[in-house]
Amino acid sequence: MLRSKKYNDIDVTVYPEGRIDISNSQTLKEDLMEFYRDGFTNVVIDFGKISSIDSSGLGKLLLFHKKLKETDGKLKLVNIKSDYVKKMFKMIHLNKVIEIEGME
């Protein structure tokens, strides 16, 4: 289960760690969906301890973002430390779809 900090009934920050790739992106999505089912619609993902992400991870983030948007919620990515992750997000202009701290 993801480490998380709940601020109230709808705001939560989650703290995944390590690499996000095909071996674990499905688990990440399931964990995120659990927060969604519990009513959390404003979800912040803290990327402080994420070292890399690939297309399967991006796919899950995009789907989760879509899901939250349907219920007027919001996904925000913050505290991106890894250069690899920053390059990936910049290359695909992910900030045009998902709010990313430092890439407004």
Partner: protein, 146 residues
């Protein structure tokens, strides 16, 4: 003499089976590429990682008995990466042609499972092609960094 080795400077070969961790293999490949590529190897890795993932997931259907063979060939002008899986291939012409049609909707590509990886590989390499069957991906990067 096959074209492969005519002006080959160096080669890295590995057969990725389910016992090998991709992250470890990627570290090894990074050390190899660093010797020959003056640009940002992170970008090469985005493409290589995606093509390996596609091979494992869509090619080999995550079958642990199947392997993916990877070759990185360094030539004077180019870096060529070959990724071969043991699957039955796919209709790559159709997938690649969708990119041309949707050139202005790059983010839409990210919603398509296999297309997403190909899209990222296209962003990071100069050329991407497949064998006829579609179980061998070839990525080409010019060594003269733009």
């Amino acid at each position: 003499m096959p074209e492969e080795i005519e002006d080959m400077i160096d080669i890295y070969k590995i057969n990725l089976d389910s016992n090998l961790r991709l992250s470890q293999v990627e570290k090894e490949m990074a050390l190899f590429l660093d010797k020959y590529y003056t640009g940002d190897t992170d970008f090469l890795f985005i493409g290589i990682h995606e093509m390996i993932s596609n091979a494992v997931e869509h090619g080999n259907k995550l079958d642990p008995a199947k392997t993916v063979s990877i070759k990185i060939i360094i030539r004077k002008e180019i870096i060529k990466v070959e990724i071969v899986d043991q699957g039955s291939g796919f209709d790559w012409q159709n997938t690649l042609s969708k990119f041309d049609k949707a050139a202005n909707q790059e983010l839409n590509q990210l919603y398509s499972e296999r297309g997403r990886g190909i899209f990222l590989a296209k962003q990071t390499f100069d050329e991407i092609k497949y064998n006829k069957q579609g179980n061998k991906a070839i990525l080409i990067k010019n060594r003269m960094h733009k």
